[in-house]
Symmetry: C3
Subunit: 153 residues, 3 copies
């Protein structure tokens, strides 16, 4: 019998952690939208200079890189480099029936590390702070993938 059902507390842990990180990734897109609207710039495509509801006073400088907007895009990129791998590794990890305490420690630890990384990045903390939370999240994903690999051999 499989492990992927809501009667399995390890799977429920995965559902919670994966859903929270889905919301984080989608929210990052909205942070970029919010910052583009507020800055009135940092737009991505030439056609965004057409006048309309989003852009009432177009100006070519709106296509220039805007660091306020670009920071959100960098955060998004960092998410995409880590969070989908968490979704995959977490599912593999659940499949090999780890102990609940380990699943909760790793999965909620990942959620906390990525939340802390986002705060550190958004508030422009020193590289060391951001790197620390990145490292914790990354090592958790690696640990889950290795655990699954070892378990099936």
């Amino acid at each position: 019998m499989g492990e992927f059902h809501t009667g399995n507390p390890v799977f429920v842990t995965y559902v919670v952690a994966a859903a929270l990180t889905v919301l984080k990734v989608m929210g990052q897109g909205w942070m970029t939208v919010y910052r583009m609207m507020r800055a009135g710039g940092g737009y991505a495509a030439p056609e965004d200079l057409r006048p309309g509801l989003i852009n009432r006073a177009p100006d070519p400088s709106q296509l220039a890189v805007n660091d306020y907007v670009e920071r959100s895009r960098r955060m998004h990129r960092n998410d995409l480099e880590n969070i989908p791998a968490f979704w995959a590794a977490g599912l593999l990890f659940v499949a090999v029936s780890p102990p609940l305490w380990l699943a909760q420690g790793l999965m909620y630890g990942f959620v906390a590390a990525r939340a802390a990384h986002a705060v550190a990045y958004a508030t422009a903390q020193s590289h060391e702070v951001r790197a620390t939370f990145y490292t914790i999240g990354s090592l958790i994903v690696v640990a889950m993938a290795v655990y699954a690999l070892v378990a099936v051999f």
Copy 2:
């Protein structure tokens, strides 16, 4: 018993929607390849200037940003910011046994919204048009993640 089997119509809905969006993402890579070949430029790496089957008449300008090619890369990036989260959220959503009509509405709605977004982006429609389809797709992913979270609490 789990929900992830082809005897469950909600899971079959997920298989169809996820497979179509996998094809969308992979196809976007091929659109970039096609545009690079047709434009003879917009290449990504310095070594792409070596003469060969792909590039018979190399020229340093081929490494410059080419908007025809770059548009496909921006579409790809937008896909990567939305579609993997759909794969994850959709799976969590299936796990908590939603009604079939809701699963079909949200999942096929997501496929339609992303297809419309791609057409709007490829044909350089106004920002408002692209933003509308982006918003629909994004809210569907958020809704599935929130539904799964609420269901396990």
Copy 3:
């Protein structure tokens, strides 16, 4: 009954291939970190110019694009355009019970193609070499998605 359990050799094939590619994606992040440290440049954010353990002698040129570092970021981006789609398509493929030999051929073929792509990219082989391995990986993902679609219709 579902197919997603470790008693199913096709699912075990997926666990192995998905775990290896998770490690590839996470490892690519560490290759970027290693190259940033070794080059002392190619940093992503303005705050990375603050003096600290990572950066003992800050200089504005450290924010310029550094091809040694950027190559690793391009490899990472190429991974993100292919590997998460593999995780999704592979899961759909397992769900429709393909023969074991086909699952092993496609999934281990994908892992081998992406490993070869990474070596070709890291060592700056000609575009044709990189494109060949990209194509193999991409067609495998497409094949798995189409197989799953056809199977549920």
